[in-house]
């Protein structure tokens, strides 16, 4: 089937513009909290910059993240509200946020984004992704398998600070502190700034798995980098959109870093 060239020329720019500016329902939405480094071991390089987005990670396609409801830093047994420290950023022209943190003591830090509900017309529902990432400092990551008490969250069952590409990562999905049986977990790779993944088919951009009866799941990424796990549940409440009650999708998102496994070096 051939379009006359004129017609095609008339459609193309308009279609391209509207496509670029609407969200892409084919790729999964992910809250993103990406630390500039997964581990701090050097006191002279102990600053961690956090890249906070609402994004399609694998395809590196942007969405706007309006100013989050909260951004918290859990460390040393305390949660500090860093919402006021968020700085607006414009990666690829989309609204995103950054925050800086300095590891001052040994210990595990958890960074948690709670966004405002995002209305997704294409799915006729709101999306709220509680998004978490960990950074361990100076050899201490105790507490990595303890829940923070979020509305919904993935609690690691494999130490997240020591993973190689090809290792399984395992976690437990909690909603209101209780395991989610048979829950859906979407998985995507974030190739990094200015890069996108190359999936054989569009249907392979997002991988999906289900939790078992105890809310547990495991997944082995094939390549190093940041991998996002989004455990999705339906909220037990509705939100109003133009006077109508709409469903709310709750996401427990966890970003985990997988290191390249290096070849053996000569022993001393």
């Amino acid at each position: 089937m051939k379009f006359p060239r004129k017609t095609f020329a008339a459609i193309l720019p308009a279609a391209a513009v509207s496509l670029a500016l609407s969200s892409l329902p084919a790729a999964a939405h992910f809250g993103m909290v990406i630390p500039s480094k997964p581990t701090v071991m050097d006191a002279a390089d102990s600053r961690v910059d956090l890249d906070i987005r609402f994004w399609h990670p694998f395809e590196n396609a942007g969405m706007n993240l309006e100013k989050p409801a909260s951004f918290k830093i859990y460390s040393g047994g305390q949660a500090a509200d860093a919402t006021g420290d968020l700085k607006e950023a414009k990666p690829s022209g989309f609204t995103a946020w950054t925050c800086s943190w300095k590891a001052a003591r040994p210990g595990l830090a958890a960074f948690v984004l709670e966004p405002k509900p995002y209305w997704e017309p294409a799915e006729d529902k709101f999306i709220v992704h509680y998004t978490k990432a960990y950074v361990d400092a100076f050899g201490d990551d105790e507490g990595w398998n303890e829940p923070l008490g979020l509305k919904t969250e993935i609690v690691p069952r494999i130490r997240p600070g020591a993973l190689y590409a090809g290792n399984a990562f395992a976690g437990k999905v909690l909603l209101d502190g209780k395991p989610v049986a048979g829950g859906e977990v979407e998985v995507e790779w974030y190739p990094g700034p200015d890069k996108k993944g190359d999936a054989p088919y569009e249907s392979m951009v997002t991988q999906t798995l289900l939790t078992d009866e105890n809310g547990n799941f495991a997944f082995s990424p094939p390549v190093p980098g940041w991998w996002g796990f989004a455990a999705l549940s339906d909220a037990d409440y509705k939100l109003q959109q133009e006077g109508a009650d709409k469903d709310v999708e709750l996401g427990a998102v966890l970003w985990v870093y997988f290191h390249e496994f290096r070849p053996a070096a000569a022993a001393q």
């Binding site: 308009a14 500090a80 700085k87």
Partner: protein, 268 residues
């Protein structure tokens, strides 16, 4: 916080000793050695007033007791050494001079941890911050100040009160705070730490030092971030997005209008 049962290094000391003596029967010395090296040893150092305090640990719960801790200058000259106390800690008087300092802990069986203390963080011997002495009456920093660098266990008189039990209860309090994380954090943390005080005064004091230090280090950064924060420009993207939709819809209309021509053209 409960010990992580799956980590061999988390064995309480007496049981670890028992396990080691059992393993002594093991015919393969190499296997024994690899058991011993199944966890790292770490040393962390931080400035506290006119001292530099060190913490040596296998995990944060499993400290290096009676290990040799040494402080060297940038050219590798050992400036002072001491034994780590019951809690794995030792404070050195800050030496004169410039450059990075290296702290090395030797914990037996080939366990060696090293930490580079950046030159920029070195305290000036004269400029003891009044904050530290005021907020931490029972801290290891204060108590060991007089005993420091003389080389031995007297460096930790205060820490003998810091029995595992009291540490645990402080840890439990911290966990409780973490679990209630979504509630307002700072207030909750204060209350919980207060509750733990009778059981573990020195752990509590240590926590207050940590808090003070974190505040001191993060405070200016947070202020700078807040000052540098840009004003939000909410209108722009929505306007461009709206234009995109308009263009898209008019493109669609154009196409629909030309469809009869198109099919007519195809018949020819």
């Amino acid at each position: 916080m409960p010990r992580a049962p799956e980590r061999p290094s988390a064995l309480p000391r007496p049981r670890a000793a028992a396990a080691l003596s059992m393993l002594a029967a093991c015919a393969l010395a190499a296997a024994c050695a690899s058991r011993a090296e199944a966890h790292g040893v770490y040393v962390f150092a931080y400035a506290s007033g006119d001292e530099i305090c060190t913490e040596s640990y296998f995990t944060r719960k499993d400290r290096v007791i009676g290990g040799k801790i040494s402080m060297s200058d940038a050219s590798g000259n050992e400036l002072a050494s001491a034994s780590t106390g019951e809690d794995g800690n030792h404070c050195f008087k800050a030496p004169q001079g410039e450059g990075d300092l290296t702290f090395i802990v030797l914990a037996g069986e080939g366990h060696r941890g090293e930490f580079t203390f950046p030159a920029a963080d070195r305290p000036r011997p004269a400029a003891a911050s009044p904050d530290d002495s005021a907020s931490a009456p029972g801290s290891s920093g204060d108590a060991s100040g007089s005993a420091d660098t003389s080389g031995n266990a007297s460096g930790s008189p205060d820490t003998s009160g810091n029995a595992p039990g009291s540490q645990d209860s402080a840890g439990a309090a911290a966990t409780a705070v973490t679990a209630s994380g979504s509630a307002a954090s700072a207030g909750a943390a204060g209350t919980a730490s207060g509750g733990a005080a009778p059981a573990g005064l020195s752990a509590d004091a240590a926590r207050s030092i940590v808090r003070e230090e974190l505040k001191a280090q993060i405070g200016p950064l947070a202020r700078a971030l807040a000052e540098a924060r840009e004003d939000k420009t909410p209108g722009l993207r929505e306007i461009v997005g709206g234009l995109g939709w308009l263009a898209g819809i008019s493109g669609l209309v154009l196409w629909l209008k030309r469809r009869p021509e198109l099919s007519a053209g195809r018949k020819d």
